[in-house]
Symmetry: C2
Subunit: 333 residues, 2 copies
């Protein structure tokens, strides 16, 4: 079974960890190949080092070395370098990187500087975290540098700041006018991305941010068409419970792009390719008429443990399996 997932950071990583757990407990690991297409719009150059927050969160989570409390970064982390960088007056000071985490960024930047594409760098990092042994291939959505910027208005002046500055430094508390994704229009999908969607048996959309994570991946030229064209059922997990994200600021992001912060609103963003949609048990979304929207499954969606995430992933695969029969061999026009 070829499973392809589009993923952002913490939510995506936890869902994927659940997926692997589900595959292991159902003894499907041997037969499953999981390809993850990761968002790189959050990427940022800090202290001259290239940081890929979403890819790293997936690597650390699947590698068993993520800081569980934070959801990102390394467990058992120290901050000796960051303290010294602050003493040197290095900027920015609103983004602190742990020592072990920094090694990832140093290594990645070294290889990128030697002309190694991000996808090849990511493959080397994936080796470090045992992803191949777990049957997982992690692909960045593109090898091109892409950066999500946020147009904000401060003191009457409009300016664009990096997504991380808006998200991390300001906690998304500055009104965003819109998102501008530098480099996205001309970003070629990384090798294997379109094939992984086209040739999948199942495509999954984890409960990642629909605007600044999955939405960015969808903007890579060719990705949306591949999703519309794939024979695989596309099943998503709503990132909203009661109209609010469990963590992060998906509600603010949706508002910024003029979409209601609801499971129905998010499903609307995926309307042209979404076959199945998992929503929280008491979600307000109405069942679409057959053929006019995704098949809904209502169930608990809080990933309160690895097992809870595994159960959600299992439910998504189960729905996909039902839909696969329906979808038959036909691709959409």
């Amino acid at each position: 079974m070829r499973i392809t997932a589009l993923a952002g950071g913490v939510g995506g990583a936890r869902f994927l960890r659940g997926l692997l757990e589900h595959l292991a407990t159902t003894r499907a690991s041997d037969r499953a190949q999981v390809t993850v297409i990761g968002n790189t719009g959050d990427d940022i150059t800090l202290f001259g080092l290239r940081v890929c927050p979403d890819l790293d969160t997936i690597l650390y989570t699947l590698g068993g070395s993520v800081h569980e409390g934070q959801g990102w970064g390394r467990s058992d982390e120290s901050h000796h370098v960051a303290v010294e960088l602050a003493a040197l007056g290095a900027t920015p000071q609103w983004f602190s990187l742990g020592d072990k985490d920094l090694a990832t960024h140093i290594y990645r930047s070294q290889l990128l500087g030697q002309g190694v594409p991000l996808s090849a760098v990511t493959a080397r990092l994936a080796d470090r975290w045992g992803l191949p042994e777990a049957g997982v291939t992690l692909l960045p959505m593109t090898d091109a540098p892409v950066e999500t910027h946020v147009v904000v208005t401060e003191a009457g002046e409009q300016r664009a700041i990096h997504f991380q500055e808006w998200w991390v430094r300001h906690g998304a508390a500055i009104d965003a006018e819109r998102f501008v994704v530098a480099g996205l229009d001309s970003a070629a999908p990384a090798p294997g991305v379109l094939e992984a969607i086209r040739n999948a048996d199942v495509v999954l959309l984890p409960p990642s941010n629909p605007v600044v994570s999955i939405g960015i991946i969808l903007g890579v030229p060719g990705v949306r068409d591949a999703l519309r064209g794939t024979r695989a059922p596309v099943v998503g997990v709503s990132p909203l419970i009661g109209g609010r994200p469990v963590r992060g600021h998906a509600d603010i992001c949706l508002e910024t792009v003029g979409v209601e912060s609801s499971s129905a609103g998010v499903a609307g963003l995926y309307a042209d390719f979404l076959d199945g949609w998992l929503v929280e048990t008491d979600d307000a979304m109405q069942e679409p008429r057959p053929g006019s929207g995704p098949v809904l499954v209502r169930r608990p969606l809080l990933m309160s443990s690895v097992q809870a995430a595994a159960d959600i992933a299992g439910a998504a695969l189960s729905l996909a399996s039902q839909l696969a029969a329906k979808k038959g061999g036909e691709s959409r026009p």
Copy 2:
């Protein structure tokens, strides 16, 4: 009093620390301005980060944060990043950088990447370590990237390796055919370097490696001429005791360039500008005939403590003061 010193790493740094101690105890600090011209031929790019070992050793030593046992690197250092870099398979693995030390290299590389010249980067690092307050200006010999390579023969094959690989990885135990300094011929002296030599009241040559430290600085176009032309007395401290360096491999370096490993041999390398020469009490060097070589002073040269180094620096200044009267206002032809 304007004191200008040419310096390599550990030996140079310890001498300079002694010099500052001497100036402080003789209450000459207020009137003294010390300009240090540091060797950058040892510089190397490791893990994509620009490392300047000699400049950093001077910064850490004068800043009171050097690892006394090693003579280089930071005290109270940890190695979390290096451990993780090794786990990632990052190369080279023969050069381990501590966490605090890495912050220096990250910061420097960030600024260099932004187009800030090395001299300006070094000035910012010097601020961190309080050098301006101590009356010290640290200048790299040049802003151009210069790297000392060593031509070695292994298994019958001749190849050039970076100086650090020869020195650190191989402990200078592979026969060196010669040194090749990439970029030196066209390296302009950093702003202030020639002026610091020309306008000095005293020029000092600390007991640094005469071939791969001071010898490299002397190869920067204009530096040697400035030394020949300065009105200041030039006083050096022999790096050899009993024909052997106290640490490092100056004897092997001298042998490589075909010069006897002796205080006389080293003085010969400086013959065209050296006015005074401190050698160890029982040094075998013969007193040159007046006018045909430097004025010799014999005294203990082991920098076994800060005070011992201060006494040596005091002796060098004292000799310079005698020579200044002799040298008068005349510059050499």
